[in-house]
Amino acid sequence: MRRRSSLPVTFLVPTLAILLVLSMVPTLYAIVIALQNRELSTTGYSWVWFSNFADLFTDRRFLNAVWVSVKWEIVTVVATMVVAIGLGVLMFEAAGPRMRNFYCLLFIIPVLLPRVSAAFVWKFAYHPLYGIATYPYRLVTGGLIFDPLSKPATALFAVATVDVWQWGLFFAVIVLKLLETLPPQPIEAARLDHARRWQIHAYVTLPMLKAPLVSLMFVKMIESLRSFDLIYVMTRGGPGVATETLDMYAFSQGFIESGKVSYASAMAVLMMIATVITFTMLWKRVQA
């Protein structure tokens, strides 16, 4: 008979207790506040229960923010994965060991930049008159002006480009390293069967990397939910409300415009519930 050790309990209980306090206290507090009508400018408050939640569904800016958040999530996650896989495979196929190391170093730099710094750098790059990113357009059109951050049709994509620039390149390095860890035999077997390069990756290497790639996608999905700083610096949710995501709108309601912290908390609680449900469903679907 094996003696039960108290070691796991000794290590796990304090850690879990701290984690529980750190995660549950703010969460419960946010839920409590969401059921009240607290505002920054007044100390008094009362319980309004689900009134804040009901108001959200008739608030056009909230509904717009939900739609913008969904678009942002899809655009950034899909584009990041496409760029990561594309560049990773390209480096694997076309670059020798030295060049691979060089590219890896180069591609890691953007993600090392603080988010706010990256946002400022790109904000200047997008300047319609002086920006380096808009320079080719001015050159081709003979000086016509293009201001991607002030056009509702392009603003979201312009900001998403910065997100993909940071994360897509970083993920490309991870994809390359994953490809390098694969056993060579299946790839050689495919080559002997005269499979083309793209077929080798489409039918052999990438299916073998399904699990880590799905994990990467989930990491990016969570990261994309937290793009507040990027959007805040580059557009503040504008032009109009074209890039106003849920977190941006919640912050705006809580701290910029009206100081409605309860209303903002209601949004945060809804976001949390929606995120948990969506991610659980997706995770189960992927596991199945």
């Binding site: 007044t42 008159l129 000086g143 504008g238 032009p239 109009g240």
Partner: protein
């Protein structure tokens, strides 16, 4: 006899000890910890940081200024003052002084502003903006009204006289735009915010006879607001690139780099326009009051004493001393010496010979003339930032074409205003 001598000696010792203590107390430093300030970038404050040692000598402690741009500063100071109260001194402005004062986030300034620093010397207009509910809440760092700043060379080349009326301005602006040569008729503010796009829109609203409230009843949803918005959007067609989602920095930056023919903006622009360090159009610029009937947007920014971070009277006195020193005549003289036009607020400095020598008679006259048409255009109420920011979002949507229904936007704002009134 001995006992008398002893009593006399003790008495003398007591008097001596008391006088030494009093002297020590008189020289005791006013501040026991560095003063923490939350502000937005200002040349005057940057210059002030060069004199940290002077303040340390005066008060016994140094100071630390955290800078955030205008909109971020407003959001952060509101969040900080209403919750943790990390800052001893807040940079406040005309748009949020009512909110800060009525919420108890700042304390009346003159209770802690040393008399030697002569608060009455500040420009009376700025004192008025710093006053809410009969009490003074901040010491001005900047302020004034609007001026029309225009490119003499560009207007002359186009054969156009500087517009004296709003109708002339509307007619002239498209004629002055020559996008192929990088010249735009005007620069406006498109970025959301009661102190951003709404600030520049309000003179049009007032010029067409608009008013915000009639008692407790919103009165802004009117023909005046529709006409003002239509005019604003029409002028925006000739506004410099980057201003559609930009504010003061973008519009003045476009003018100072030579891309704009006419700009109606807050008075500090005029000082920047004649300064070779900031302007590429020095010597080509003229100044006039805003075209009639546009009123100038009276404003003032300054430093106020935070309530939470200054828990006791000693801390408040320290913050008061910092504000007094930062806005003193000596500090303003240094700013004048550094040609920081927009940072001058004291009558004694604005009317000094040194000022006239540096900036000339034209600008002085334009400033005097614009003073006559400067007005408070916003709703002077703690709920103004809330209402103004809401209109700012709708206006930004209209400017960038995300929405096109002006009346629908005003209806939405009116519904929101009614909610605000109900909550009072």
């Amino acid at each position: 006899m001995n006992s008398n001598r002893l009593a006399a000696s003790l008495g003398a010792a007591f008097v001596l000890t008391a006088s030494v203590s009093t002297a020590a107390l008189a020289q005791a430093p006013v501040c026991s910890a560095p003063v923490k300030v939350l502000a937005q970038p200002r040349d005057g404050l940057t210059l002030l940081e060069d004199s940290k040692d002077e303040f340390k000598k005066l008060s016994g402690a140094s100071f630390q200024i955290d800078y955030l741009n205008e909109n971020d500063r407003r959001a952060k100071s509101r969040a900080d003052a209403s919750t943790v109260g990390n800052y001893n001194v807040y940079y406040v402005d005309e748009a949020n002084v009512a909110l800060f004062a009525s919420s108890g986030w700042i304390v009346p300034l003159t209770d802690y502003y040393p008399a030697d620093y002569d608060y009455a010397d500040f420009d009376p207009g700025r004192q008025k903006v710093a006053t809410y509910d009969g009490k003074v809440w901040f010491a001005p760092l900047t302020g004034g009204g609007d001026l029309m700043v225009y490119r003499k060379d560009v207007l002359e080349a186009a054969g156009i006289q500087p517009p004296k009326t709003l109708d002339e301005l509307i007619a002239d602006v498209p004629k002055l735009t020559n996008a192929d040569k990088g010249m735009y008729g005007i620069a406006l503010r498109g970025a959301r915010g009661s102190g951003a796009n709404v600030w520049r829109w309000m003179p049009f609203f007032k010029a067409y006879g608009g008013k915000w409230f009639d008692g407790d009843k919103p009165a802004f949803n009117s023909d005046a607001a529709v006409k003002a918005t239509e005019t604003y959007l029409k002028l925006f067609k000739d506004s410099a690139p980057g201003t559609q989602t930009g504010s003061w920095d973008e519009s003045t930056g476009a003018f100072l780099s030579g891309q704009v023919a006419i700009l109606v903006e807050s008075t500090p622009l005029s000082g920047m326009a004649v300064d070779p360090k900031t302007s590429q159009v020095v010597g080509k610029v003229g100044f006039l009051p805003p075209p009639s009937p546009l009123p100038g947007g009276g404003y003032g920014h300054g430093l106020a004493i935070g309530t939470k971070a200054n828990a006791d009277d000693a801390a408040k006195k320290c913050a008061g001393l910092f504000i007094a020193w930062a806005t003193s005549k000596e500090s303003e003289k240094r700013r004048l010496g550094a040609h920081q036009f927009g940072e001058l607020n004291r009558t004694s400095i604005l009317t000094s010979k040194e000022f006239a020598d540096i900036y000339g008679a034209d600008l002085g006259k334009a400033l005097a003339d614009t003073g006559k048409v400067t007005a408070v255009n916003f709703w002077q109420d703690p709920r103004w930032p809330d209402l103004g920011d809401r209109w700012g979002i709708i206006l930004e949507e209209l400017v960038t074409g995300t929405r096109t229904d002006i009346k629908g936007g005003l209806n939405e704002l009116e519904a929101y205003a009614n909610e605000l009134v109900k909550k009072k």
